[in-house]
Symmetry: C2
Subunit: 241 residues, 2 copies
């Protein structure tokens, strides 16, 4: 009965580290990711007509977790990390079969030299294997009246502020045309990613003003939170682009 699932594509995203990835898709709409088809799946015929849809489902593997055991009960970060829920009552990555699904917005379709879909709003780690892509069909997939006691409300969002140093770093990086294309919408992406408050829930209450480092592309973002305000103190590049 077992089914061997193989990647049809790989995603390139700014999320080079798990820490700071938004916990659901759509929370960072300015984030641009690219889905590049691989091997036998790199044929334009298989995506013919896909540009007629505004949104797509990506079915993917939580491949960083493959070696981990799944857990029957998990502690969703949205619940403060204290309350346990059955794994099938959550979207936790620690689950049997390691499959995730996220809805993304289709931005562009490229067919040469490699078939690629440019999408926005994805919450996927860079190099995540994609195992299926399906069109979002609103008359069956959109159920606005569905209720969900735990995850139904959009999470609280922080105010994001940049230090003068951080602001200057972004200005310099985005003034270069090639770099600007690589780090698309950089300032807005940083705001959308960090306003989600990536801190573990128990830190938020017990360790105010602790300093954190988030990674986006090859950039290290240094920040801390006071009350509802997240301040980015410094941004560093880890390697030459």
């Amino acid at each position: 009965m077992d089914n061997i699932v193989q990647p049809i594509a790989l995603i390139t995203s700014p999320f080079t580290d798990k820490f700071s990835i938004p916990r659901q898709p759509g929370l960072a709409p300015s984030v641009i990711s690219t889905v590049s088809f691989v091997g036998d799946f790199d044929h334009a015929a298989s995506i013919e007509g896909i540009q007629q849809y505004s949104h797509l489902w990506l079915i993917f593997e939580f491949n960083q977790h493959r070696s981990h055991q799944w857990r029957e009960r998990v502690r969703p970060p949205r619940l403060g990390g204290n309350k346990q829920l059955g794994v099938f009552a959550t979207r936790s990555p620690f689950r049997p079969n390691n499959l995730g699904m996220s809805v993304v917005k289709l931005v562009d379709v490229v067919v040469k030299p490699q078939v690629k879909l440019v999408v926005s709003g994805a919450d996927l780690l860079d190099q995540t294997p994609i195992v299926d892509i399906k069109p979002y069909v609103p008359y069956v997939d959109a159920i606005p009246e569905a209720s969900s006691a735990f995850a139904g409300d959009e999470p609280n969002q922080l105010e994001v502020c940049f230090s003068a140093t951080a602001e200057a770093f972004i200005d310099e990086l985005t003034s270069n045309a090639a770099k600007s294309e690589h780090y698309q919408n950089l300032r807005q992406v940083i705001i959308e990613v960090l306003r989600q408050d990536p801190r573990p829930a128990y830190h938020a209450s017990k360790q105010p003003e602790r300093h954190y480092v988030s990674q986006l592309y090859d950039l290290e973002l240094n920040w801390y939170v006071t009350g509802q305000c997240l301040t980015i103190t410094e941004i560093r590049q880890q390697k030459d682009f």
Copy 2:
């Protein structure tokens, strides 16, 4: 990079044959299916809290298609079977990795003697292997404004009529308490399933009044279509219940 996916549960549904299964979930809301957890996954802990959600995603295997080759281009029945689309621009079952996803309504949760979820609106063949279950989270999954040029509109629905013989058969079957529980909402289920017009698109235009047989549970439904009206001439039971 390959991931071995194993069933966590099996679904029991009235759809004992592929012909007549609604082409998307939710089109036959009275259809009740039961998701029964298997083997190591049959533990109440893993679904703790799931009753807080009104809707769930079922990720499943199109296991009847496993031996088939997937096709780069498919002919979606909704488009009359004439127009070809890339497989990733459709929800066709003939796809790489054989994975399907359907949203269903959660009706009941049973934990003894086996962990089971009773759901409505599923479009899954009886005994389909389920590989993941996730809560439907409206603030990320519901995008009513998403657009889809091909499959955006709900399909046309036929008027369903019963012959006196068919009506009498249903009355007799549902007057028995045990049978009535097995064939839940039978009359309404038949209407919802057949009003979708299960005929292949090329038959609908070229072979009016042709007779068809659909299977639901162990029942054979005999019917034909004239214009917008589908008439059920006879219902037969294939074996004793």
